[in-house]
């Protein structure tokens, strides 16, 4: 069951993400209203949209932190959080969902590092807890990943002793420790001081270059233009337009997109 660090570090095959006709509502409030999205392996997709447009909810539905009311998500063709039972979709057991989440990295706006564990243990926790690696192998992997995000000297520190930018880089290393085929970023730089944004974006850019599938919700338009293969604009729970950054950002077809871009640029 367990593997060596070398095997754990081997390149992961980038995943395909398919979101099919997803609807989500809270009470009478519709958050997502029929979203379809396909992310090809190795593609970097940036989701833009005004606050409350449903972009974070979409991200949280992809790894089943939220359950869609209608529709489904699949990664590499495997349904996430549900299984087909005849003509219907039935939610999986909690255990099965947790196993699936191991293949999907998630980076939060507020980092959500475990404050009582050292940086090294934060990164090594998931491979050990899920039984993929023994403790020494997981720690070796964690050291390797922390080196990759430029924090090799911080392994023994506690998260609260780090700056916001460093904490977010640890969070990215933590997500990488499970070797996910896709990583979801929920506004990864929104909680950071402006001067710390660059170091986090540099790490994400590195990941993009390594060919991992990335889905990023962000307000950094310049960054989107630089790394995105595709920009998706969401408003009112619907995808209004999508395409390469040169199209969506420079010559938006939709009035709402133009309006939004004029406010954030």
């Amino acid at each position: 069951m367990t593997v060596t660090t070398r095997e754990a570090l081997a390149d992961v095959e980038a995943a395909t993400v398919e979101v099919h006709d997803v609807h989500k509502w809270y009470g009478t409030h519709r958050v997502l209203d029929g979203v379809d999205l396909t992310v090809r392996p190795g593609e970097v997709t940036v989701i833009l949209g005004p606050s409350g447009s449903g972009k974070s909810t979409l991200l949280r539905i992809i790894n089943h932190l939220e359950r869609p009311e209608i529709g489904h998500v699949s990664i590499n063709g495997e349904l996430i959080g549900v299984k087909r039972q005849g003509e219907r979709l039935k939610e999986l057991s909690e255990r099965a969902i947790l196993t699936q989440r191991g293949r999907i990295g998630f980076v939060f706006q507020n980092f959500n590092l475990f404050p009582h564990l050292t940086v090294l243990d934060n990164v090594a926790a998931a491979p050990v807890a899920t039984g993929r690696l023994g403790k020494p192998e997981a720690q070796e992997l964690a050291r390797e990943l922390l080196g990759r995000v430029g924090l090799a000297d911080k392994t023994g520190a506690y998260p609260r002793q780090l700056s916001g930018g460093q904490q977010q880089r640890v969070a990215i290393a933590r997500a990488l420790a499970l070797r996910p085929g896709v990583i979801l970023f929920d506004e990864p730089t929104s909680a950071l001081d402006p001067e710390l944004v660059g170091e986090v974006l540099a790490v994400i850019k590195d990941l993009a270059a390594s060919g991992t599938t990335l889905v990023i919700v962000t307000h950094e338009i310049g960054f989107a233009r630089e790394i995105a293969d595709r920009v998706v604009f969401i408003d009112g729970g619907k995808i209004l337009e999508q395409g390469p950054p040169s199209e969506v950002l420079d010559t938006p077809r939709h009035e709402r997109t133009r309006d939004f871009l004029s406010k954030v640029l």
Binding site: N63, L65, E94, R95, L98, T99, Q100, R101, G102, I104, F106, F108, N110, N112, L113, F114, P115, H116, L117, T118, A125, A126, A129, T130, Y158, P159, R160, Q161, R174, A175, L178
Partner: protein
């Protein structure tokens, strides 16, 4: 307490030109003198001294009798019972509290309702009533059996043999303690940020691991001080087991007091000092346990009393040196 105003600087004395203000810039700022604080301190010290003097010299306290009783085997036997009952009820009570807290936080309305009702009932009934009720339990239920609910029994126990005085005391205190511990534990779990649950779920950590390694250790930071408070209450509540014929620390002193009526006051003082010692030991342990669980929560750990003493002395020495220099 309000402070009298310190010496005010008279504006008229302020230099009118630029020249002396440059001079003032290099001056050390003298802190405000607070004579009121010194007077109050002196009064309090006087009162404390008077109290201690009375405690030592008043023949009413019979300190010679106190030293006779303090390490008597009867008293020490009672102390042992107190410790045993406290330790068992603290552990069982906390375990029960964790189960009840999880019940109250469960998504099942039945588990929530049952836990809530238990806490409501046991917090409403006085402990002494629970104890006396349990003491007479064998009269209500002659045998206890393990088997299919409402169906046949596999084993039966003779209630009167099972319910020793010790068992009654521990069960009664644990039942009561669990109700309070449940609220302490629940509060601790609620104090953990929702983002922690989400991060643990997003990483796909197994459910049990999430609770044991991520949520509970963080919850302990707020559980420990509250539960120790609870524990100190429990140490003293054990004196109630005297009413179910168990001779704990208080019970032994009480019994000796009725045999030697002249020694009631020194005996009560013996009990008081032992309870003070127990509480102090618990407080010291609390400090170090809290310090352990503070790791990562604060940028640097709070200093131990020894470290505090050392820095305090260094500061004092530096201050004296500075004052002398002025």
């Amino acid at each position: 307490m309000s402070e009298p105003p310190g010496d005010t600087v008279t504006l008229a004395e302020a230099p009118p030109t630029d020249e002396p203000s440059k001079l003032l810039a290099a001056q050390r700022v003298l802190p405000l003198r607070r004579p009121g604080r010194w007077i109050v301190t002196a009064i309090v010290l006087l009162l404390v001294a008077q109290f201690v003097h009375g405690l030592v010299t008043n023949p009413f306290y019979q300190w010679d009798r106190w030293s006779y009783w303090f390490l008597r085997p009867t008293i020490l036997d009672g102390l042992l019972i107190t410790l045993e009952v406290t330790a068992c009820s603290a552990v069982l009570g906390l375990a029960g509290g964790i189960v009840l807290a999880l019940g109250r936080l469960s998504k099942s309305p039945v588990l929530r309702a049952v836990s809530w009702t238990y806490v409501w009932a046991l917090r409403s009934i006085p402990l002494i009533v629970v104890l006396i009720f349990l003491y007479n339990f064998s009269a209500l239920y002659k045998t206890l059996s393990v088997g299919i609910p409402f169906g046949p029994a596999f084993f039966s126990f003779d209630e009167s043999r099972l319910a020793t005085d010790m068992a009654v005391a521990v069960v009664g205190l644990s039942l009561n303690e669990a109700a309070y511990a449940a609220e302490v534990v629940r509060g601790g779990i609620l104090s953990v940020d929702q983002g922690q649950h989400e991060a643990a779920a997003a990483l796909g950590l197994p459910k049990g691991y999430q609770f044991r390694r991520i949520v509970f250790p963080q919850a302990l930071r707020s559980i420990v001080p509250n539960y120790v408070n609870q524990l100190i209450g429990l140490i003293k509540s054990t004196s109630l087991v005297f009413y179910v014929s168990l001779l704990d620390l208080f019970g032994s002193a009480q019994t000796m007091g009725s045999t030697y009526p002249g020694d009631i006051v020194p005996l009560l003082l013996v009990v008081t000092v032992w309870y003070l010692i127990l509480t102090s030991v618990v407080s010291v342990i609390q400090f170090y346990v809290e310090r352990h669980y503070a790791r990562g929560a604060t940028r640097s750990l709070p200093p131990t009393p020894l470290q505090k003493l050392r820095t305090g002395l260094t500061d004092l020495r530096a201050r004296i040196r500075r004052e002398a220099a002025v």
